[in-house]
């Protein structure tokens, strides 16, 4: 078992404290008094890349080994367009079941959905929500016996820092945050030279976009300023990032949304902060008369890296079938089929980035959007924050959005 550490935010009705269990000190001072009327109590482990965390036991137990998959309907809670319908059809045929999808659009909606509805499987959870799912008894530990393809998970994510031992999660996709751009307007060499600063170029006024997420958007401002502490609790740093984004909006009239995968192909945007997976998927949104060569993606060697994962809700009525679905999509061939439609790179060793290019699923100029295991290991991460630190980020972003 890997060493564990990180910070544990202890939140209680009458007060709170942050117990440092080792590691760095950028997890916030975490007094956790987000609201004095709360009746909750518990601990939220705040994992960091250099301070991994083994998530604690919760009220759920893993299912027993050797059980047959349940029949009926597997209900999956996921982002829209995040699983290939052909993959679902193949799973349904193989197991003689039906799969129903329910969708969320943000981690907050995922969190509230898990508290109100019994889903069988979640596809698309992130490191920001995971510790809350575990401490809030919303997810159950996994039984690795059913996950025969687990060895295919990227080596750096087999025992990830946010869930040492992969007790509750299995990686699904991996992606970076960078700049999507139109290569018929912005030159590859120019963006490589100016990097993040290209976003602030007034020449692109009206054609600029920022990701509609406080963490991603403000991190863009930090990168411009050379700051890489992406989980900072320093109000000054967050304020500087806010000012940088406000300047970006003034200079370029940037729009805030998560539509880079549509806007870059259709030409209504020339440069967008974007997730690499959106750019890999953008080729499917190109107008008929537009060549795929116009799509470009730039990210520095070290940038924000994230991986979404599978978790099984504590009250799943088909937990065995849910394990089988995870295993199904972790199979190299099934993962490749899924990638063909989703565009987000599987967090697996096989298919490799090279294999995806060879299979002509990724245009050659978009290999920059593919993520290597080394990048995953060294990337900057957006991790769960103490409530009052998260509020700092959100308030700063709200100020920007208010114009």
């Amino acid at each position: 078992m890997a060493h564990t550490g990180g910070f544990v935010l202890v939140v209680g009705a009458g007060g709170s404290l942050l117990a440092a269990c080792g590691g760095d000190d950028d997890a916030g001072d975490g007094d956790g008094d987000g609201d004095d009327s709360s009746g909750s109590s518990g601990t939220i482990p705040l994992a960091r890349l250099d301070a991994p965390v083994e998530l604690p036991d919760n009220d759920s137990s893993p299912i027993d080994s050797g059980l047959d998959p349940e029949s009926g309907t597997l209900t999956i809670f996921t982002y829209a367009d995040y699983i290939n319908p052909d993959s679902i059809a193949a799973f349904e045929e193989q197991y003689g079941v039906t799969v129903e999808l329910a969708t969320f659009d943000t981690e907050a909606r995922l969190l509230s959905g898990l508290q109100t509805t019994a889903y069988d499987l979640v596809v698309g959870a992130t490191t920001i929500g995971l510790p809350r799912f575990v401490v809030g008894n919303l997810v159950q530990p996994l039984n690795r016996d059913y996950l025969t393809n687990f060895a295919n998970v990227l080596p750096s994510l087999q025992s990830p820092y946010y869930d040492v031992g992969s007790r509750y999660s299995v990686p699904y996709t991996v992606y970076t945050t960078g700049l999507a751009y139109r290569r018929d307007v912005i030159d590859d060499a120019a963006i490589a030279a100016t990097g993040w600063e290209t976003m602030w170029d007034p020449a692109n006024r009206g054609y600029v976009g920022i990701i509609d997420d406080p963490r991603d958007a403000l991190t863009l401002g930090m990168y411009r300023l050379g700051i890489t502490d992406t989980n900072t609790d320093d109000p000054d740093v967050i304020g500087q990032a806010r000012d940088a984004i406000a300047e970006l909006i003034t200079t370029t009239n940037a729009r805030i949304d998560i539509l880079a995968y549509q806007k870059i192909p259709e030409g209504t945007s020339r440069i967008n902060q974007a997730w690499s997976g959106d750019m890999l998927a953008a080729q499917y949104y190109l107008p008929e008369d537009t060549d795929v060569d116009v799509l470009g993606y730039w990210a520095p060697e070290r940038t924000t890296v994230a991986n979404d994962f599978f978790v099984i809700p504590a009250d799943s009525e088909h937990p065995v079938l849910a394990h089988h679905f995870i295993d199904f999509l972790s199979d190299p061939d099934n993962a490749t089929l899924n990638f063909e439609w989703v565009g987000y790179q599987p967090a697996l060793a096989d298919p490799t980035p090279e294999a995806l290019v060879t299979a002509e699923l990724v245009p050659s100029q978009l290999t920059t959007a593919l993520v290597t295991d080394e990048q995953v290991e060294n990337g900057y991460r957006l991790d769960a924050l103490a409530p009052e630190v998260q509020k700092l980020w959100e308030d700063a972003f709200q100020q920007v959005k208010a114009g």
């Binding site: 009327s37 709360s38 939220i44 909606r109 969190l111 909006i249 009239n253 409530p387 709200q398 208010a402």
Partner: protein, 313 residues
């Protein structure tokens, strides 16, 4: 005695007829509204980042409300409120300037074309609001959108820059004029129809009397038609202003720029934050504003009705 009992029974029947409406109102308005208040003045689970509604008003806390109010008066929400009032005000004025002549023509001048014109006014309702807005995304596409090309060809960006409704860019997304136009386009039919109904109900004999007494057509319009259509104008204004104030998807689809952010967008954003109570507070603040608008409308309507009854008596 029998008459009294019969009258009482009849009153009971009338009261019973209001029951479905009363239940509807309680289930779909009062209960949800109270739930919003319970969230706005309730607590928050810092682990699950979820609001914890407080149902007992005696235990309500007003921290989030104070924060929002402070933000409206001198904080980040102030420009959002001012912008919303400005956009809705301009959009309403344009609805009046465009909608009144149309409603007047259909009600009083269309003759045998009236039915066809009415159908034409209702046709937009057959297509969802969202689809109509998405159509404008294509029309305004800077890469060959027809509307975009036409507007740029006649120098519209410069024209709107004079009024401060555009930065002069040939990209129409993210411009105030685009959001305002979207609001007008989306809600104009809602403005015209009640106004048409009001104009159509004006007694023709009153207009004839005005002409008989020597008033010119313009004077008849100014001194008879226009005053008599005020309740219709107010009804149309209320019906369109209420959804305009809370609208967020017109702005989201046609702009997405913080420079055009309206109250509805802020509500949508705040409900996704760590303290969704602030979004609920903003809903209550907006509801209070709209209630004031509604109360003014009701006051005018009641007064007009009373004056009409007195005139008839």
């Amino acid at each position: 005695m029998a008459d009294t009992a019969r009258r009482r029974d009849r009153q009971g029947l009338w009261a019973a007829l209001t029951l479905p409406g009363t239940i509807w109102l309680i289930v779909f308005f009062i209960v949800p509204f109270y739930a919003i208040a319970a969230v706005a003045f309730g607590g928050f689970d810092p682990i699950l980042l979820a609001p914890e509604p407080t149902w007992n008003p005696l235990r309500w806390s007003f921290g989030a409300a104070r924060e929002v109010i402070d933000s409206i008066f001198g904080g980040p929400l102030q420009p959002v409120f001012l912008r919303t009032f400005l956009y809705v005000g301009i959009a309403m004025s344009l609805c009046f300037l465009i909608g009144y002549p149309v409603a007047y023509y259909v009600a009083r001048r269309a003759g045998r074309w009236r039915t066809l014109l009415l159908v034409c006014m209702v046709v937009p309702f057959w297509v969802s609001y969202l689809m109509r807005m998405l159509a404008w995304v294509n029309l305004l596409n800077p890469q060959g959108g027809w509307a975009s090309d036409a507007l740029n060809a006649v120098g519209a960006p410069t024209f709107f820059r004079w009024f401060g409704l555009s930065d002069g860019s040939e990209v129409w997304f993210g411009q105030p004029v685009t959001v305002i136009s979207g609001l007008v386009y989306g809600y104009l039919p809602f403005f015209i129809l009640p106004l048409y109904a009001s104009l159509d109900r004006i007694d023709q004999r009153l207009l004839e009397a005005s002409r008989d007494l020597g008033a010119s057509p313009a004077e008849t319009f100014r001194r008879v038609t226009l005053p008599l259509s005020v309740p219709g104008i107010l009804a149309a204004a209320v019906i369109t202003a209420l959804p305009m104030f809370g609208d967020y998807y017109t702005n989201t689809i046609l702009s997405g720029s913080p420079r055009t952010e309206m109250i509805g967008n802020q509500i949508e954003s705040l409900t996704r934050t760590i303290e969704p109570q602030r979004g609920s507070v903003l809903v209550l603040v907006l509801s209070a504003l709209l209630f004031g608008l509604m109360a003014y409308y009701l006051r005018i309507t009641i007064r007009t009705g009373r004056e009409a009854n007195e005139a008839r008596a």
